[in-house]
């Protein structure tokens, strides 16, 4: 057990701190995705290696060697000072790693730089009304007509579709192949004729997602990542990136500290919420669970440095446990506030801009999205505990 990072890393930590103190006045409001201030901040972060750190210089990144500890230190310092860590989104966190791994040189040159600099916004076309947990059964089809794919079908749960410039999309190109081998991964512009976007309002009252309809959408033949029929491999590479990032332990800790602040400042009937032993016990239970998950994450970090460590199961449980924990942390804040906890949107008594109610509902969405908790349990039992798959039911005609 050696949990120190070593003295050479402490020098690096000082550099990060200096950067933060020198530049923190320049950080933009996180809600602005396309403002000049946002793009300038993004460029500043990349130029100093605090974003897109390991992406090669020729594709617009900082070009550093991968160093997990340095990445960890950057995350710790930015989180400690609550500094804007730059843009995320599906183009940056999901498409870029896949292009680096599976894209051709032309695609890397064309897309990565503007994507990481926030000039090109993407959305993800995966789920369909009939293809949720069983994503590989998707039916949106693309047929080759001369030099173009002609796409027809529908996608759902497409966040940022209404503001995205491009989409990365799974379509069925080989209708006669087994379902996992008939899918291709296409890239196309969202202003292509034949695309219709309808907002999907969810339980939070916000437009976090959309439905996207394709009617004879024509896309140049070469806008495919990987070969025809390899789309499922590409998609799985991306889903791996998504699952780990849905419920980061640092954010869970920050939210838990938010509940502590609430409980120390709010009163009911003159009594501080923190003085209620039942509320306090619930807080302590969640703090213990959050501690266990944070330490699990530390073990995963260690395994990326020390390749001999077996952490297969520890990695598989992160999405399930992390999203369920976040939902409960947000729910505790609501419970301890009593009727005030009901407040939402423009209610003058709302606390923390309604974020507790919003996140409580939003995290129920994340428990379901990105592979439901039940799908996670199938994965854990089948791949982690080596239990057999449910027998297939013959399709009735």
């Amino acid at each position: 057990m050696d949990l120190s990072f070593g003295s050479e890393y402490e020098v690096f930590r000082e550099e990060v701190r200096d950067f933060i103190h020198q530049h923190k006045d320049k950080q933009p409001n996180p809600a602005e995705m396309r403002s000049e201030k946002t793009l300038a901040w993004q460029k500043l972060l990349i130029d100093h290696g605090y974003h897109s750190r390991t992406i090669p210089k020729k594709y617009g990144g900082y070009g550093a060697e991968p160093d997990i500890i340095k990445s960890r230190i950057i995350a710790e310092e930015f989180s400690a000072e609550q500094i804007n860590t730059g843009l995320s989104g599906q183009g940056i966190s999901m498409l870029t790693p896949v292009l680096l791994e599976m894209g051709n040189e032309e695609q890397k040159q064309q897309f990565i730089k503007p994507t990481i600099h926030g000039e090109l916004l993407w959305c993800q076309g995966y789920s369909e009304p009939g293809a949720g947990s069983d994503l590989a059964s998707l039916t949106t089809k693309a047929e080759l007509d001369g030099d173009e794919w002609v796409i027809n079908g529908q996608k759902i749960w497409t966040s940022t579709a209404h503001i995205a410039d491009w989409i990365f999309c799974l379509v069925r190109t080989e209708p006669d192949a087994p379902k996992h081998q008939g899918i291709s991964f296409l890239l196309f512009r969202m202003d292509t004729p034949g695309i219709e976007i309808r907002p999907l309002i969810d339980m939070t009252g916000k437009r976090n997602f959309n439905e996207v309809f394709f009617t004879d959408v024509r896309v140049p033949k070469d806008q495919i990542v990987g070969k025809r029929g390899q789309g499922w491999l590409v998609a799985n590479a991306i889903l791996g990136h998504e699952r780990g990032s849905l419920a980061p332990p640092d954010v869970a800790d920050a939210r838990l500290n938010g509940v502590v602040d609430l409980m120390r400042t709010e009163t009911i009937g003159g009594e501080k919420l923190m003085d209620n032993p039942v509320y306090r016990d619930r807080l302590m239970q969640l703090q213990g669970r959050a501690m266990a998950l944070r330490l699990n994450d530390m073990r995963l970090l260690s395994a990326r440095i020390n390749k001999n460590q077996d952490v297969k199961l520890a990695a598989m449980i992160v999405k399930l446990m992390g999203t369920e924990l976040r939902h409960e942390i947000e729910g505790l804040a609501i419970d301890v506030m009593g009727e005030i906890g009901l407040s939402y949107e423009d209610n003058p008594y709302v606390r923390d801009k309604g974020s507790w109610q919003f996140q409580y509902m939003f995290y129920l969405g994340l428990i379901i999205g990105g592979g439901t908790s039940q799908i996670q349990k199938n994965i854990i039992s089948e791949r982690g505990l080596d239990m057999p798959k449910e027998p297939k039911v013959a399709k009735s005609s």
Binding site: M1, G6, M291, S302, Q376, K377, M387
Partner: protein, 354 residues
């Protein structure tokens, strides 16, 4: 940075597991639990592996290892529901005696020839009919649920959190075994009538440090016991057939097992870290020890129930013997502070409660 076990620690784990698997199988545990045999041969075997001497300095004949090593051993003992004096004689007593600078019996403890039991119940919270009064150097009263009914001496904590040592054969000391659900590690009561005691320390910090260590070891024991229950449940589900299928192919059963694994896996990091923090992070160790004890108690309770259910009716029988693990986990939950009590301490440590 390396968050994991060293090669030496993996070797330690393997050698303890091998000894317990070969020499202390469930049949042996049963003999001890039913009173046909006692745990002295097991303790002697563990002493040959150096287990009672783990934390003791080399000058006193120990091997001077750290709390992470003790945690690993506790995990193995829990996995095999081994009857032993490990928590009291190999961990809590050495921690207390070393913190208090009382080296006189450490060599004998390291050899396994001198077992020291732990009587902390009256400091954690004295019950009706119990309590300890000190008059000069004599102790009178009653201690309940004392760890190790077969010890040669006991460390008794008073309500003021002072530690006294009494000999098991001291004049005026009566010792009665208390039947509990967990027959792998018998508890006793001590009834004291003006028993001569030796003040080991009147510094509450010595008591608290010893308590922290004990809580971490109980958590580690639960980690091992729960892992064994999960392993047994998965193995059983893979061979038990109903409706012409192994029951491991039913999602209802798979999800029970996945929930157990998902809850247990982070506990491994937590327990290891608690051991590390005990030695290396003085500012944080008490909070971490409290959370680890409470969290493992909760996860252990869930797994004890769920793993039994996966076994169906067989899980409920003495024949399969799963109940030894169920009861071991149940005992670890109640000993040295129940989860609610320990979480209250966690809140106090952070200034959340007066």
């Amino acid at each position: 940075m390396e968050f994991g076990l060293s090669q030496e620690q993996i070797l330690l784990q393997d050698s303890v597991n091998k000894f317990l698997g070969d020499q202390v199988p469930l049949a042996k545990v049963r003999q001890i639990a039913t009173g046909e045999d006692n745990d002295s041969a097991v303790w002697k075997g563990l002493a040959e592996l150096g287990i009672p001497s783990l934390l003791i300095p080399e000058a006193q004949g120990g091997v001077d290892l750290g709390t992470v090593d003790a945690v690993i051993v506790a995990e193995c003992l829990g996995y095999h529901v081994t009857p032993s004096a490990f928590i009291s004689s190999a961990v809590m007593a050495p921690v207390a005696l070393m913190a208090a600078g009382k080296d006189d019996t450490l060599a004998a403890i390291a050899d396994g020839n001198h077992r020291v039991g732990i009587a902390f119940g009256e400091a954690i919270g004295a019950r009706r009919d119990a309590g300890i009064l000190v008059d000069g150097t004599t102790l009178s009263g009653k201690c309940l649920f004392v760890l190790d009914a077969n010890a040669d001496a006991y460390l008794i904590a008073t309500p003021e959190k002072s530690l006294y040592r009494v000999r098991a054969d001291a004049k005026g000391l009566e010792r009665n075994i208390l039947t509990t659900i967990d027959k792998t590690r018998p508890n006793c009561e001590l009834i004291l009538d003006k028993v001569e005691g030796e003040l080991i320390s009147d510094d509450p910090e010595v008591y608290l440090q010893t308590l922290d260590a004990g809580r971490i070891i109980l958590a580690a024991d639960t980690l091992g016991a729960a892992q064994s229950m999960l392993d047994q449940a998965v193995a059983y589900a893979k061979q038990r057939e109903q409706f012409n299928r192994v029951i491991a192919s039913f999602q209802a059963v798979k999800h029970m097992c996945a929930e157990m694994a998902a809850n247990l896996e982070p506990c491994r990091s937590m327990v290891w870290f608690a051991g590390h923090a005990f030695d290396e992070l003085p500012d944080k160790k008490r909070l971490i020890a409290c959370h680890t004890k409470a969290h493992l108690s909760e996860v252990g309770k869930f797994i004890a129930k769920t793993a039994t259910e996966v076994h169906g009716g067989m899980g409920f029988t003495d024949l399969v013997g799963l109940h030894y693990w169920f009861k071991r986990i149940g005992a670890n939950r109640q000993l040295l502070g129940t989860p609610e009590l320990v979480r209250d301490e966690a809140a106090r440590i952070q200034g959340f409660a007066a």
